[in-house]
Structures are given as structure tokens and as C-alpha cells.
């Protein structure tokens, strides 16, 4: 897929602005962190946006802490869940965040193996995004447990009861899929950071920073041997991470498709969930890229080309997701199964229909704009589209989780799910947590890989040669 885009893009748009030297790149990026020329040293008036964002998101983090304490004291009844709708926001948020946590590894691992140069300037923060999103996603299954203090019973470990997890349950597979994914993404991210940490160590003015970055840099000196090992390790990790990109969300999809509920029980789910995940992931990449490049003046590093290519991936995913929606509807009617058909009709006209049609608009209609080059290269448009897609994907998860359950087999058991105030608190404060983590990340770590950018400078220089 990506190669075609490579060709499709007119040669006029490079991945790197003109006139950058290796040193310049390094200084520019390191500067953001180390403060030289970065906004931190200037007063409140200069960067009130930054600080207020930090404060607000931190408020959200505290809210999340308080809310979860209360949740563990009172019980999962705080949420709007009931019988028949025993899964609510918590599970929707879980799937949504996991989805967002996809693009990072996809970009850094798969595009790396595909030798996509345009990944260079966006992979670092995309990976950070992945890490944070997946971490937050991991919280929700615990929040939604009836007895969270026994969550570890899902892990296989020798115990006095001589009991083991019930391996037929996809929830057990989930534990492994997600923890593996988190671990590998973390390693991948950290290994990629090592050379940059070293350069930060060398550039840092204050001793404290030198010490800190020094320790994290694990004594990197950048000699040939280091680089050789580094390259190998990085490639190996990329190879390791690639299957995970697919596996995680496939397993998450199985949580549903193993179930026999109309609206869960569908073979299309794994590919359809993975595509949806990339969809929301790339939407989030764009959502983050645009303010970053604007705020830190990174237009030469994160160029229109990056945005355009990301937009194309998004368009492709949107088409795939649309296909998923279509096939769901088709199978429902083609199967002639009373319950499937009823569930589908309920999606069209039932009490959750508004949500359904809104996300149809967000995920299927809106991205079609991206067929036009003008739209792909128009930053405000891209921002709006990506935000809509993020919202749309959340609504899709919500409808899959809740609407399928609220009217399944026996009419007598049909019920209604209405989110409680706590459902909203947990959703919003988890977003706040994400924002806060991300802000801390760009404050203390290079959001773009300096080492790889230097490489890019070289390459472009060579290409430039007649």
C-alpha cells in the first residue's frame, strides 16, 4: 500500500525542508527539550497555552485517581451497566484506546521494514502515543471488573487453590496480547531513544540533566560497534513488533466475536477491528502532529507530505472500515437470522440509531474528502477530519458494545443502557491522562528522532546531488 503512495506523491514535496544540516536538525530538536531557544525559558505570557494545557490535563489525572478510588470502594455499579447491558463505556474506551495505540507501532515497525522514509520524523511521538494509549487502555478492563482486587486471577500462577485461568476465554488471551504489545512497544521505543538520549546528555547544560540522560543513555558513545548492534537490535525489534500490530487488536476483536450475541458474533471482526484501529491511530497521529509542528515550528520536519501520506492511510482505512460496516449489514440480512436482522434494524432505527448514523458520517462520509489533494494538503481540514474520525471511532466501539447487548434474544430481557455521570468522568479523565503524559513526553524527550533525522539529512543531500 505504502509504496503506491510513495509513487503517487509528486516529487515536489520532500520529507524535509530545504537547507537543513545534521547539526542544525539536532540543535533544533534537542533545543525543544533542553530549552535553548525552546519556549520553556520565556515567561508565562509567552507560553500560557502550554502551561494551562498542562495544568488542565493534570487536573484530569487527579480526577481519574479520585474517581478510581471511589469506584474501588463503591463497586462497578457506579457505571450505567446493568443486565442485559453488562458492558458499557469501560469496554468501549478500552477498545478505542487500544485502537489508537496501533498507529505508533505500525508506523515505526512496518514502515521501517517497508523502508518508508516518511516515517522518520513522526515515528518517535507516534510510538509514545502508542505506549500511553495502550497503557490507558489496559486500565479499563480493571476498572470494569466486579472485584478488581482479584484481577491477577486471570494470570496463570501457582496458587493454593490449584486453579488456572480458563484458557478458552478470549479475556485470558487479551491479557497476554496486550501485555506483550506494551512490553515490545516500550522496548522498541526505548532502544530507538538511546542515541538521542546520548546526544541530549552531551548537549545538556546542567549537571542534573547530564546525569539523568546519561543514565538512560546506558553509556552510549556512538562508535561503530554501538551503531551496528543498535541497528540490528532495532531491526529485530521491528520484526518482533510487526505481527503484534495485527495480533493485539485481533485478540481484542475475538473478545467480541467469540460471544454469541448478535452484533458480536461475526467473523469479519478481527480484520475489521485492526483496520479500525489503524484508522483511529492515524487520525490521532494527525491530531497530534498538527499542533506540534505549529507550536514548535517543525514545518520543515513534519512536512505537508507527512500529513498527506497519513491522510491517505486514513482514507484507505476508512474504506476498509466502510467495507466492514457493509459486510456486517449484508451478512445480517443474507443469513436471514431473525436476531441478526433485528439487531441491524435496531441499529438503523433503534434508540441508539443517532449514534450509529453520526459515526457513519464521521467514519465513512467525512474521510472521502481526502480524495482531493487540496483537502489532504489543507491543514485545518485535516485537523477537523482527524478529530471527527477519533470521535466517530469511539462511537462505533460504543454501539458495538452496548447496542448489540441491549436487545438480543429474549424480548423479555431487553433493556436500556444509559451512561452514568461516572462513565463520562472516566472517559474524559482518561483522555486528560493521555494528554498529560504526552505533554510530559515532549517536554523531556526528543519528540523526533534526531539520529534518524541526521540520516535523512544525509540521504536527501545525496539525492540532491546531480
Amino acid at each position: 500500500m505504502a509504496e503506491h503512495e510513495e509513487k503517487a506523491v509528486s516529487p515536489g514535496t520532500p520529507e524535509l525542508g530545504a537547507g537543513w544540516t545534521a547539526g542544525g536538525v539536532t540543535d533544533k530538536i534537542a533545543g525543544v527539550v533542553l530549552g535553548r531557544g525552546g519556549p520553556w525559558t520565556r515567561g508565562w505570557h509567552a507560553h500560557w497555552r502550554w502551561r494551562s494545557a498542562l495544568l488542565i490535563s493534570f487536573g484530569g489525572v487527579l480526577t481519574l485517581l479520585a474517581a478510581s478510588t471511589w469506584l474501588f470502594m463503591r463497586g462497578v455499579g457506579l457505571f450505567g451497566v446493568n443486565i442485559p447491558v453488562a458492558w458499557g463505556f469501560a469496554l468501549g474506551n478500552f477498545v478505542w484506546w487500544i485502537g489508537i495505540g496501533h498507529a505508533g507501532t505500525f508506523i515505526s515497525a512496518i514502515l521501517l521494514l517497508l523502508r518508508q522514509r516518511w516515517r522518520t520524523s513522526i515515528n518517535r511521538y507516534a510510538e509514545a502515543m502508542t505506549l500511553f494509549a495502550a497503557g490507558i487502555a489496559g486500565l479499563f478492563p480493571i476498572f470494569h471488573l466486579g472485584r478488581p482486587w482479584f484481577a491477577y486471577w486471570l494470570l496463570p500462577y501457582p496458587n493454593r487453590m490449584e486453579l488456572w485461568p480458563q484458557w478458552r476465554s478470549p479475556l485470558v488471551w487479551d491479557i497476554f496480547a496486550i501485555s506483550t504489545y506494551l512490553l515490545v512497544s516500550l522496548l522498541f521505543w526505548y532502544v530507538g531513544l538511546i542515541p538521542d538520549l546520548a546526544s541530549l546528555r552531551d548537549k545538556a547544560a546542567s549537571r542534573g540533566k547530564r546525569l539523568g540522560y546519561g543514565i538512560l543513555a546506558l553509556g552510549w558513545r556512538g562508535d561503530a560497534r554501538h551503531w551496528r548492534h543498535y541497528e540490528t537490535a532495532y531491526l529485530l525489534l521491528a520484526g518482533l513488533a510487526t505481527p503484534l500490530v495485527v495480533s493485539v487488536h485481533t485478540v481484542v476483536a475475538l473478545d467480541f466475536s467469540i460471544g454469541n450475541t448478535p452484533g458480536y458474533h461475526s467473523t469479519i471482526f478481527p480484520p475489521y477491528f485492526v483496520a479500525g484501529a489503524l484508522f483511529s491511530g492515524f487520525a490521532m497521529v494527525i491530531t497530534l502532529a498538527i499542533p506540534l509542528r505549529h507550536y514548535f515550528r517543525l514545518h520543515d520536519f513534519i512536512t505537508l507530505r507527512h500529513l498527506e501520506l497519513a491522510a491517505k492511510v486514513m482514507l484507505a482505512c476508512s474504506l476498509f472500515v466502510a467495507y466492514g460496516y457493509a459486510s456486517e449489514i449484508f451478512t445480517a440480512y443474507y443469513s436471514g437470522d431473525t436476531y441478526e436482522i433485528h439487531m441491524t434494524q435496531d441499529r438503523f432505527t433503534g434508540m441508539y440509531a443517532p449514534v450509529y448514523w453520526v459515526y457513519m458520517f464521521c467514519n465513512v462520509v467525512v474521510p472521502q474528502l481526502l480524495w482531493w489533494r487540496r483537502a489532504r494538503r489543507n491543514v485545518p481540514t485535516l485537523l477537523v477530519v482527524s478529530l471527527l474520525v477519533n470521535a466517530g471511532m469511539w462511537m462505533e466501539r460504543f454501539v458495538i458494545v452496548v447496542q448489540s447487548l441491549h436487545a438480543d434474544y429474549l424480548p423479555s430481557a431487553w433493556g436500556v443502557f444509559l451512561p452514568s455521570v461516572w462513565d463520562w468522568v472516566f472517559l474524559l479523565s482518561s483522555i486528560a491522562l493521555f494528554v498529560w503524559l504526552f505533554l510530559m513526553f515532549i517536554r523531556y524527550l526528543p519528540m523526533i528522532s534526531m539520529a534518524e533525522m541526521r540520516g535523512l539529512v544525509q540521504e536527501t543531500a545525496e539525492e540532491a546531488k546531480p
Binding site: 463503591r74 446493568n82 443486565i83 470494569h144 466486579g146 478470549p170 479475556l171 460471544g259 454469541n260 424480548p411
Partner: protein, 959 residues
């Protein structure tokens, strides 16, 4: 999942069940979390052995006592299960004619009332705590004055009384104070019926139905199947008649959907006046009414004549049974029709109501005059003729017709004494209040609806220091306090006129063991007064008003004493599935005419109550248009935190005509624009093109198969060595009475969660009684739905920790202490029969711990639960069998729901044994499983409803 009785438990009681529940939960949460995290050692536990162990009361072995519960004064025999002396469950008494082993929801819920910590605990004087002795003193002086006045100012007000001992005592009082009067107040009864009977028989007579002999039953708004003193027996008898050949038929004319309508071959919605018109037409066609009932032509005429032919065809084996909502004229008509149809003495026995004996000069006894009604008493009170008023276990301030204004009358009584279980409205309005002992706390006796006498045997000493009515009356009569025990024994020693102490003891023991003292005499039929029968009927009803309110007994809360019972409050009504509330029931057309939706609050006003009352409406398919049904028993101001502040008090609109409190009134309805949120447990009652309930036509009963072929499965079939438990539910026999739901709740320590939680869809009942209206808008069908114990259980494969497993006898077991609460099993259960403890629902009041079934875990917050097929009973039976070294026999294991079902609709047993009852039931062609297409292979199967086409009154089978 240790049971927690946290330090806050007592406050739980004070705070109460519904509003406070959330607060209670708050208090509980921390300790629950602690218990869950299970840090460190469990708290050290004490063992307290008996000082001297009573015979056969080993801790851990349940002991059953035969006793009797009162329903509108009539006795219903029960067996009370006690655990180390604590009553924990109530079952029916097979030896008692009113029970035959079954117990209805109200009887079983009595255990909760018995333990209710909010029951009245102290003698009160003018709102101040007082003592029994002070009461005795002032009573002595008061009675002294009364004696002087030959009891001129003494009035006794009670509910209906059947207890021989109590009647004797009343007789004594009336003998000692000749001027004194005894009044009976029966808010759940039907004055119109009593009045009609009085006219025809010259004395208080009540009809006793023998439906096992009936072939064609016409019910006109009759609550045949309860809740009432004879409901269980009627249901049992009618279903037996139905199982017989030829199949018995039921025709139901109803103003609001009732239990009879659900089993009826034809059900027709009519207003009470409409039913009276039908009776007129039948009467004139049978030629028993002076032809003043003009034949109004119309659609009715056709089916009424068909009905007539059917009734007269079943001469002597039919029954025309009018209900509370009908006028006394209609009741007269019904008596006439039944006489003409030769039903008296066959399907309908007129039985004389027992009266207190009045000692004559020559020492013999004669029956005292019949007790007067409430109207006369209120009149006397207004006239100031009442100095002393003793109210025994009645609450007239609340449940007397608003037209009487009892409260004002009461304020004019010098010395008013109220005795009851609760400090209710009347208790607050009286000078004195005496806490009464619960039926299971004090000795007494009672006669059942058919006259069988049984002992009310206490199973525990009064928990809250209540007194027995016998003791108080003895005080009045003789100024002495003998124990109720002595009094009851004395009564029967006289009754048996026995001087041989040994012989008496033997008989007494026998009576205690069986729970029955004296069988009913079959030959006590009262002859009908021919003259009265021929007499001219009163004028028929005038033009029908546009909207008529019918005051109906609530299906759950029949008497005031049941109002503070959380089990009954949370039990969904059969048709509306409303909990914790009563609603003004109206038909769709009426609703449309006023543009009303469910929950819209309307103001109902009548001619003499212009201020009227505010009531939220509920739209019921099958409700007669132009009729608004107002269930009684709600809108309480006193009497416990569970009872108070729910629903509306319909008594306000109730009117009184010549002493009779009427069951209907003409009202105007006006929408107010306000809205009330109901807590209902079932929202969709259509079938949505699915077949959870099925029916086969009568003659295809043996041919056509209700079941679908079982699809193939990839799983290997399971092999079972021992028994393979299974259940069948006969939809043709299920009357939707909810008895099984409460039996399950009592047996399995199922908590009640309060209206807020029910509204959120979190009710905990393991046994859910679904009701469906056929899409054609035909009659309703009930379906008890609990865990189906699937062979290929979808819940089992998705539980990550193996908390729900298949055991070697095919039970789908739920292991609470392993559950972490992912709720995936519930999502994956196509029947949605699993229940989840979203909060810490368990009641932590000490009384709750005392009444809990010790064989069933009290579930902690955050775990899933569901029907277990009463696995504790299975274990118990298995262990007993093993100890005796014999295999389990059919009937060794009886689940709680099966045990209590009045119509034996539920059958449980070993499906591996071809001779077991359940195997034979499953062999029926009517046998089918719900959602068989999912290949879950449920262990619970259903027997399809039988549809008897010929029986219907519809057009097609005319001629």
C-alpha cells in the same frame, strides 16, 4: 466472600431499605473492599454450643414445624423451616386443605415480616413509650366504667376472625358487656358479596369453590387464584380439572388483566357494569331473572348466548364466579344463575361464617348476632357513643374508605387502643398502641376457607416483645392474663370436651404435628332462601359514566402488614412488571383519548372528592376501556421505611353506600403534565417474531411436536455416570402467581435492591416470570425463566477464571468465590438469566443474618449469580442418601420453586432415570426448549401451552 456483619449493620436497619440503601452501601463498601482484598488472618470466630441441647435440634439440621398463617382471618397451613431455632423459610403444608404443600408469595414473604426490625417494639401511649403494666392499670379502670355501663361505650374492631379461641373470647366479652358491639373491617374483602349473601341466606355466608368438579368456569373479575385464603386451592383444583378429560374451560370477563384471564380459553375485557349486563343477559336466557334485563343486541349477544349454552351444557359442573368489583345486584344474579345451573353443593358450597358463641341462661351456647361493619362504628363514633375502642390488627385510619373519615371519628373516642405489628397510621392516631406478636411468634388457631381448623404454632419467642390478641382479650374479658398457649389449649379441651389429660395431650401432639386439628365438615351447607331467590331484583345500574375507577386489591400488598416487606415490594406485578409502586391502570384507547404515556401523573376526582388524588398511569393491554383500576395498599404515611411514601392511596376516592364500601366510583381524569418514573422489570412484552412461548392445539396434543430438531454440535456429548438433573415448566399450568419467585428469593438469600436499582435494570431475582402478549393481541402467557443449565453453556467458555463450570451431574454451577466479575458470562447468556452484584446488595442487618439460609453463600459485591437448581438441596439429599447407602430416589430433591408451585407446573428431577417424573414430562410431545436453534441444549425445557379451539367463544366456532 465472608459474610460481613459490619459495625454499621444496625444503622442499616435505621436507614432502611430503599432510600437509605445507597447510604448503607457507602458504609458497607470499605469493609467489603477489605474483605475482598482478604489481607491477613480472618477475624477469630467463636463457637457457642448449647448449654443443654434440645431433642433433635442439632445445629446445621433444619427442623420443620407445622403452623398456620392468617389471610383475611382465614388460616393457610404452612411448614416453617427453622435452623437452630431460627425460622428461615416457609413452605406449604401438604396436610392442610388451603395449601396442599404450596405456599403463595405472601405466605412465604411472612418470614421477612417476622424478622422485620422495624416492627413495633413497645407499648405506646399518646406517642410516648409506655409499659404493659401501665396499660393494664388504665385498662382496668376503663373496663370498670364500661362494666358499669354494661359496655355501652365499648366497641371492638377487628379484621375477619376465624379463630375458634378468638371467637370464644369475643363471645365472652359480648356476654360480659351486653351493650358492647363487635365490628369487622375487611378492606381486602367484598362488601357487595357479603350483602348479597346476607339477603339470600339470611346470615353471613361465603361461597366455597370446588373447582376440581368444575368443567366450565365463568370468572367475572374474580381473583380466583389469589392472593387470597383460597387462591392456592382454587388454582390447584382448577388445574387438576384442566388436566382431566374433558378439559375444563375457563371464561374470564375482566376489567383489568388478572390471573384467570391468562389461563382463560376466552378472555373479554369489560367494565363491571358491562359484566353485570352480561349476567343480566345470561339470567334472562336461563329465565331466572324477571325479564327486566332487556336483550340489548350487539356483538355481545352472540358470544353471550354461546357462553350460555356452554354453561347450561355443563349443568352442575359449571361455576359463575363474580369478583370484588361487581355490585351486590350482580352477586345476587350470579347466585341465581348458579342455582339454576345446579352448581350449589357441587362446584359452589355456601358455607356459614363462624360466629362467636353467645352463652345462654341455661349454659348452652347460641350464635351471637353477626358482627356489624365499619360504617356503623364510624357513625357511632361521630355520635360520640364510643368511649372505649379496641382495634385488633386493623389499620382503618389508612384503609377505610375516604368517605367515612374514620380518623375524625377516632379523635372523638375517649380511649382508643390499637394493636398491630407496626406503628401504622391508626397506631399514631390512637391513645394506646400495643405491639402485636407475629403469627409465628404466638399461639393461636384458625379455620381455613373451608372450615378446617388448624393450630397457629409459634416457632420463635416474640422477637420484639409483641403480645398475642388472645392475651389482650382475656384481659378485657376477665381482667387476668393467661398465656395464649393456655387459652388455646383450654379452648380445644372444651371443644373436644376431654377430661382425660393424656388423651388430650396425644391429640394435641397429633394436631401440632399435622398442623390440622379438625377436618372441615362437608355437610355444613347453608340452604338458600327460596323467597329471597324469587324476590324482585333491585334496579339495574344506571347509565354508565364515561370513566369508572375500580378499587382492586394489589397483587402483592394485600394487607397493611405486608407493606413493609421488601420482597413483596420488589416482586414484579404479573402484567405490568412494576415494582415498589402502584399505578392507575388504563387501557390504550383511554390513554390515547387523554394523550397519556406510561408514568404521566393524572389527577382523579370524584363527585364528593373534588380534590381527589394524583396518580401516575400505566397503560395495560387488555384493560377494559373506560375503566381505571386503582390498586389499594399504597400511599402509606406510617408503618415502616419500606412502606412509606410509595404510590398513592386510592382509599381516598372510595365511597360508601348504606354501610357497604364500594369497589368502584365514577371519576374524572385530568392530566397534570407531571411525570413519575416507574421501576419495571420487563419492558418488551411482544414476541418480536420469536417463539419463546409456544402452544399446541388440544387435539394435536399427542401428535404435533412443539420442539425443533436439535442441531448437531461440534462438542462431544457429555457422559454422566450419576444423575443428570433437569427441569420442565408446564406453560399450560403456570398461572403467573409469582410464588416460585419468592420461594427462590427466600431459599437462596437473594437480596432486594430497591427501586432505584430496579429502574437501572439490576433486580436480582433468579426466577423471572416473563409475560408475553401474542402479537395478535391475544391472551397473555407467563413463562418462568431462570438459568436453563445448558449442556453447551455459552457462559462457561467465556469466563476467564473458570468461575462458572459444568459439574459431573450437568449442573451449570456458579462459583461465587472464584468470580472476578467480568460479566462476560451474562453477555454471552442468550436467556439473560444471570444476575450481578453491582453493589454490595446483601442486607447486613443482624436480623438478615439470622434469617439467611445457612446452606447458601451470601454473595459479595462484584460477583455474578444465578439459579443453581437449588444445589444445596441436591447436596443435602445426596449426602443423606449416601449415608443410608442407597441411590437418590425421584423426589428426594425438590427445588424451592417446584415445592411451592400451587399447580405443579414445575417438575425437577433426574433426566437420566427414565421413570422419573421429569423424564416422563420431557417425553411429552409438548416438550420444547427455548432458543433451541442456538444449540445450547438447555436442561430446563417447557411444555407448550394447550390451545383448545373448541372452547373459545370466538366467531369461527359458532353453531
Amino acid at each position: 466472600m465472608r459474610r460481613l456483619v459490619a459495625p454499621t449493620a444496625s444503622t442499616a436497619a435505621a436507614i432502611g431499605v430503599d432510600g437509605g440503601r445507597r447510604r448503607v452501601l457507602k458504609l458497607m463498601a470499605a469493609s467489603a473492599a477489605l474483605a475482598g482484598s482478604g489481607c491477613g488472618q480472618p477475624p477469630p470466630e467463636k463457637i457457642r454450643p448449647y448449654v443443654n441441647m434440645p431433642e433433635g435440634m442439632a445445629p446445621g439440621d433444619p427442623v420443620f414445624y407445622a403452623s398456620t398463617l392468617l389471610r383475611q382471618g382465614c388460616g393457610v397451613g404452612v411448614l416453617v423451616e427453622t435452623e437452630s431455632g431460627r425460622p428461615i423459610k416457609i413452605e406449604g403444608n401438604p396436610a392442610h386443605p388451603a395449601s396442599l404443600g404450596a405456599a403463595d408469595a405472601q405466605s412465604q414473604a411472612a418470614i421477612l415480616t417476622l424478622w422485620d426490625p422495624e416492627r413495633s417494639r413497645t407499648v405506646m401511649r399518646g406517642g410516648q413509650p409506655s409499659t404493659w403494666t401501665t396499660l393494664l392499670d388504665s385498662l382496668a379502670t376503663q373496663m370498670g366504667q364500661e362494666a358499669a355501663a354494661r359496655g355501652g361505650g365499648l366497641r371492638l374492631l377487628s379484621g375477619p376472625v376465624s379463630s375458634p379461641t378468638l371467637l370464644a373470647q369475643i363471645g365472652e366479652i359480648l356476654a360480659r358487656f351486653p351493650e358492647a358491639r363487635w365490628h369487622v373491617h375487611d378492606p381486602a374483602g367484598c362488601d357487595a358479596a357479603k350483602h348479597a349473601a346476607l339477603q339470600l341466606f339470611g346470615g353471613p355466608v361465603q361461597p366455597l369453590y370446588r373447582l376440581e368438579h368444575a368443567h366450565t368456569v365463568l370468572s367475572l373479575d374474580a381473583e380466583l387464584f389469589g392472593p387470597s385464603a383460597d387462591g392456592l386451592r382454587n388454582a390447584h383444583d382448577f388445574m387438576n380439572a384442566r388436566r382431566g378429560e374433558p378439559r375444563a374451560r375457563m371464561y374470564a370477563l375482566e376489567s383489568t388483566p388478572g390471573l384467570c384471564g391468562a389461563v382463560a380459553d376466552t378472555r373479554i375485557a369489560l367494565s363491571p357494569a358491562g359484566m353485570e349486563a352480561v349476567l343480566d343477559m345470561i339470567a334472562s336466557q336461563l329465565g331466572v331473572s324477571d325479564a327486566m334485563a332487556e336483550q340489548r343486541p350487539g356483538p355481545q349477544a352472540a358470544w353471550v348466548s354461546r357462553l350460555c349454552t356452554r354453561l347450561s351444557a355443563a349443568h352442575g359442573a359449571s361455576a359463575v364466579i363474580p369478583g370484588h368489583s361487581l355490585s351486590s345486584r350482580a352477586h345476587l344474579l350470579a347466585w341465581r344463575i348458579n342455582t339454576r345451573l345446579g352448581n350449589l353443593g357441587r362446584t359452589i358450597h355456601p358455607i356459614a361464617q363462624r360466629l362467636p358463641p353467645a352463652p345462654l341462661a341455661d349454659g348452652t351456647h347460641d350464635a351471637a348476632p353477626a358482627p356489624e361493619g365499619l360504617g356503623a362504628l364510624v357513625q357511632a363514633m361521630h355520635d360520640g357513643d364510643v368511649q372505649t375502642l379496641l382495634m385488633l390488627d386493623v389499620n382503618p385510619v389508612y384503609d377505610s374508605p375516604g368517605a367515612l373519615d374514620f380518623a375524625r371519628g377516632l379523635s372523638r373516642v375517649a380511649c382508643s387502643i390499637h394493636m398491630g405489628l407496626y406503628r401504622d397510621e391508626t397506631a399514631h392516631a390512637s391513645n394506646w398502641h400495643i405491639p402485636m406478636a407475629h403469627e409465628l411468634e404466638a399461639w393461636s388457631d384458625a379455620r381455613s376457607f373451608d372450615g378446617t381448623a388448624s393450630l397457629v404454632q409459634p416457632v420463635i419467642a416474640p422477637l420484639y416483645g409483641g403480645l398475642s390478641a388472645h392475651e389482650v382479650l382475656d384481659m378485657l374479658a376477665h381482667m387476668r392474663t393467661r398465656s395464649a398457649h393456655e387459652l388455646v389449649r383450654a379452648q380445644w379441651r372444651n371443644a373436644w370436651n376431654m377430661n382425660d389429660a393424656e388423651e388430650f395431650e396425644r391429640r394435641w401432639e397429633e394436631a401440632l404435628r399435622r398442623g390440622v386439628i379438625e377436618e372441615a365438615q362437608a355437610d355444613r351447607l347453608v340452604p338458600i332462601d327460596e323467597k329471597a331467590l324469587k324476590a324482585r331484583l333491585p334496579e339495574g345500574p344506571g347509565p354508565e359514566p364515561q370513566l369508572i375507577a375500580v378499587f382492586a386489591n394489589d397483587h402483592n400488598i394485600v394487607s397493611c402488614n405486608q407493606a413493609n416487606n421488601a420482597w413483596l415490594q420488589e416482586l414484579p406485578r404479573p402484567y405490568t412488571k412494576i415494582t415498589w409502586d402502584n399505578a392507575a391502570l388504563i387501557g390504550p384507547a383511554t390513554a390515547g383519548r387523554h394523550g397519556l404515556r406510561n408514568g404521566d401523573v393524572v389527577s382523579l376526582t370524584s363527585a364528593d372528592k373534588p380534590d381527589g388524588l394524583l396518580a401516575p398511569v400505566w397503560i395495560v393491554p387488555g384493560q377494559a376501556e373506560g375503566v381505571v383500576t386503582l390498586p389499594l395498599g399504597y400511599g402509606r404515611h406510617q408503618g415502616g421505611s419500606v412502606a412509606q411514601g410509595r404510590g398513592f392511596d386510592a382509599h381516598v376516592l372510595q365511597e360508601v353506600r348504606n354501610g357497604m364500601s364500594l369497589r368502584s366510583a365514577a371519576v374524572q381524569l385530568r392530566p397534570t403534565g407531571q411525570h413519575h418514573a416507574f421501576a419495571a422489570t420487563q419492558h418488551e412484552m411482544g414476541l418480536a417474531g420469536r417463539e419463546p412461548v409456544r402452544s399446541v392445539s388440544l387435539h394435536a396434543r399427542d401428535g404435533a411436536d412443539a420442539a425443533d430438531a436439535a442441531p448437531p454440535s461440534l462438542y462431544p456429548p457429555r457422559q454422566y455416570g450419576g444423575p443428570a438433573w433437569g427441569m420442565t415448566v408446564d406453560l399450560d399450568a403456570c398461572i403467573g402467581c409469582n410464588a416460585c419467585a419468592i420461594a427462590c428469593q427466600a431459599e437462596n438469600n437473594i437480596p432486594s435492591v430497591g427501586p432505584e436499582e430496579v429502574a437501572r435494570g439490576r433486580e436480582m431475582h433468579w426466577m423471572r416470570i416473563d409475560v408475553y402478549h401474542a402479537d395478535s393481541g391475544g391472551r397473555a402467557q407467563f413463562q418462568p425463566m431462570a438459568c436453563q443449565h445448558c449442556e453447551n453453556a455459552p457462559c462457561e467458555i467465556v469466563c476467564p477464571v473458570g468461575a462458572t463450570m459444568h459439574d459431573s451431574e450437568g449442573l451449570n454451577v456458579q462459583v461465587y468465590n472464584r468470580c472476578v466479575g467480568t460479566r462476560f458470562c451474562s453477555n454471552n447468556c442468550p436467556y439473560k438469566v444471570r444476575r450481578f452484584n453491582f453493589f454490595d446488595y446483601a442486607d447486613h442487618d443482624p436480623s438478615a443474618a439470622a434469617r439467611a439460609n445457612p446452606d447458601v453463600t451470601v454473595r459479595q459485591r462484584g460477583v455474578m449469580e444465578k439459579c443453581t437448581y437449588c444445589v444445596q438441596r441436591i447436596s443435602h439429599a445426596r449426602i443423606e442418601a449416601q449415608k443410608q447407602g442407597r441411590p437418590l430416589r425421584d423426589g428426594d430433591v425438590v427445588t424451592a420453586c417446584e415445592a411451592t408451585c400451587p399447580t405443579q407446573a414445575i417438575v425437577f428431577g433426574d433426566t437420566a432415570d427414565p421413570r422419573s417424573r421429569v423424564s416422563r414430562a420431557k417425553a411429552s410431545a409438548r416438550n420444547y426448549t427455548v432458543l433451541a436453534e442456538l444449540n445450547t441444549r438447555p436442561r430446563t425445557s417447557y411444555l407448550a401451552r394447550i390451545h383448545d379451539k373448541e372452547a373459545g367463544l370466538e366467531e369461527e366456532d359458532d353453531g
